[in-house]
């Protein structure tokens, strides 16, 4: 049931779906350290309100829609309207509550912090009594 509801929200957040907009996967850099997984996705021209980040059951979905404002007759076109869409598998150890997303200069920056339980720890070895 809950799955269905999620699918519905995703579709709502993608306006102009009827139009024939090409879909492409944004290029990403993914880094990891002990604290978090950091993802950078290039999504130039996407406005904040046209961007959705959705995480559910170990699957992370990123969707962004770019509508270019064309001014007059196109003389030359190397990029245009586009829908960015990419799905990633993320470990269950991500602390979903603390995920932080920021859109800056056309780049989505997504911090996926690891839950306390998943962080590496040094285990103290006790002397046998």
């Amino acid at each position: 049931m809950s799955e269905k509801a999620n699918i519905a929200t995703v579709q709502e957040s993608i306006p102009d779906k009827g139009k024939d907009v090409p879909v492409t996967a944004p290029v990403v850099d993914i880094y990891e350290n002990d604290e978090e997984i950091l993802l950078h996705a290039d999504m130039p021209g996407v406005e904040k309100d046209k961007l959705t980040v959705h995480i559910d059951n170990g699957t992370l979905d990123i969707t962004g829609l770019r509508g270019m404002k064309r001014n007059g007759a196109p003389d030359w076109e190397e990029f245009g309207d586009i829908e960015y869409r990419r799905t990633f598998s993320v470990p269950q150890t991500i602390d979903i509550e603390k995920i932080d997303a920021e859109l800056k200069n056309g780049v989505l920056e997504l911090h996926l912090p690891k839950s306390e339980a998943a962080k590496p720890r040094l285990i103290e070895i006790k002397k046998a009594a």
């Binding site: 492409t24 290029v27 850099d29 993914i30 290039d42 196109p74 003389d75 990029f79 859109l103 056309g106």
Partner: protein, 187 residues
């Protein structure tokens, strides 16, 4: 008949000169975009061209339209080449350049000998450098595009703005002196 006059303005003649070859992004330079899209032969050409570019620059994945080839450059000091769109109205030209992840201050816009130069450098975030990476698909380094301005471009009134990783440059058009028109008095 002078065929050259009928052809659309070639914005990339300086770029071609510099690189000694055609701009790699689309092989068919001067055709209007509608034609470019619908003509199956040129589509095929473009696909082949894309494929070559990807193999040469070591990109293993891509999508048919634009962005994935966003930066055409690669290792070895080759300049990255962000994608550009050019629109024209009667009043002005609008040039948009796709430059995600670049700070406004890292972009340089200059005009030299009727050529508009968009250049700069894309730097990797410091924070990211200190981590291990899984995937590194985005390119970093110096980028440049050269755009040959048409004769009627008003070079003193060029305006630029930057938003969401897209740089928009407006170049007003001015009326050219009608040197070709000569009024002949009827006696």
């Amino acid at each position: 008949m002078d065929l050259k006059k009928l052809a659309p303005w070639n914005w990339f003649k300086d770029e071609e000169k510099e690189s000694g070859s055609q701009v790699a992004i689309f092989p068919e330079k001067a055709s209007p975009s509608s034609e470019r899209r619908s003509d199956p032969t040129s589509m095929f050409h473009r696909d082949i061209n894309d494929l070559f570019n990807r193999v040469l620059h070591g990109y293993g994945f891509s999508s048919p339209l634009g962005s994935r080839d966003f930066f055409q450059g690669g290792p070895g000091g080759i300049l990255l080449k962000p994608a550009v769109d050019i629109d024209a109205t009667d009043e002005e030209y609008t040039i948009t350049v796709e430059v995600p992840g670049i700070e406004e201050k890292d972009i340089k816009l200059t005009i030299k000998n009727d050529t508009l130069i968009v250049s700069g450098e894309k730097r990797q975030e410091k924070e990211a450098k200190e981590k291990n990476y899984y995937k590194m698909e985005r390119s970093y380094g110096a980028f440049q595009r050269l755009l040959s301005l048409p004769e009627d471009a008003d070079q003193d009134k060029v305006d630029a703005s930057f938003k969401n990783g897209v740089l928009s440059i407006t170049v007003p058009r001015r009326a050219l002196p009608d040197s070709d028109i000569k009024q002949i008095q009827i006696k």
